[in-house]
Subunit: 123 residues, 2 copies
DNA sequence: GCAATACGGGATAAATTTATCCCTATGCAA
DNA sequence: TTGCATAGGGATAAATTTATCCCGTATTGC
């Protein structure tokens, strides 16, 4: 596993939340787990753009950060369920706020962002 | 300038806000500009951990995303002032929410995060 | 002329994050 | 026996983001 070389700054709330919430799929994972999609295979189906591997890695980090717990059922084929901890649940409204802003400004954002790509030829 | 090779997903609000808000210093820049620190040199002083270069780059992106405007005064030495657009202002509460969560859980987060670094030797 | 101020940006290196590929394990069904 | 479902993880490549280094502009003051 990759080991960081530079110690992160932890000066303010933004630094701190960034440490646990940065990561392409983390917020979605928390969101979907909160919605009741607790099994890895379900999460994978909800987030098809992410590879199985990456989801595992990011789930592991969420677990290390005590945002989710992982319960293993000793059955075959294996069954695993993730749940939010209270700490993790406290993030749901925060993620909701982010998502809402994005949804609210959806049109404008899509236009702005895709401009960058269509403009590529103009330079 | 770096040119992306992979077109981002823009499926949901989280994807969209991520496109404009990811970036190590962007939220801080918006926050400080909102607090009235409008000049590049001021921002640099408020965020000493970032290099001048990176701040320029990220400010440029914020500008491209219409979150800030850049006003140049034709004087020497040069004077530049950034301001939030209405669009940018609408992000302030969102950033506030993130920062508050981090502040609220400061103790716990610091402990969790720094554990990762002190544990390095145990493996 | 030379330094300081305030701002900008090219080129490149380093760090970090994501993606790909491939292998392991278990019991059931065909 | 082969294949499927379910879950996990090592090794490595590719993409992306940050950091470093260094140069350029124009004016004021010494």
């Amino acid at each position: 596993m990759y080991e960081r070389k530079i110690i992160p700054n932890l000066n303010c709330g933004l630094d701190l939340i960034g440490e646990v919430l940065y990561g392409k799929w983390k917020m979605r994972l928390l969101w979907f787990i909160n919605e009741g999609h607790q099994r890895p295979s379900e999460l994978q189906r909800k987030i098809p753009d992410a590879s199985r591997r990456v989801l595992n890695v990011q789930l592991k980090e969420l677990e290390d950060h005590e945002l989710v717990t992982r319960k293993i059922y000793p059955v075959v084929p294996p069954k695993v369920e993730y749940s939010l901890t209270e700490f993790g649940k406290s993030l749901i409204p925060v993620i909701g706020t982010l998502g809402d802003w994005g949804d609210t400004h959806q049109e404008r954002l899509k236009a702005l962002i895709s401009k960058k790509f269509t403009d590529t030829n103009k330079d």
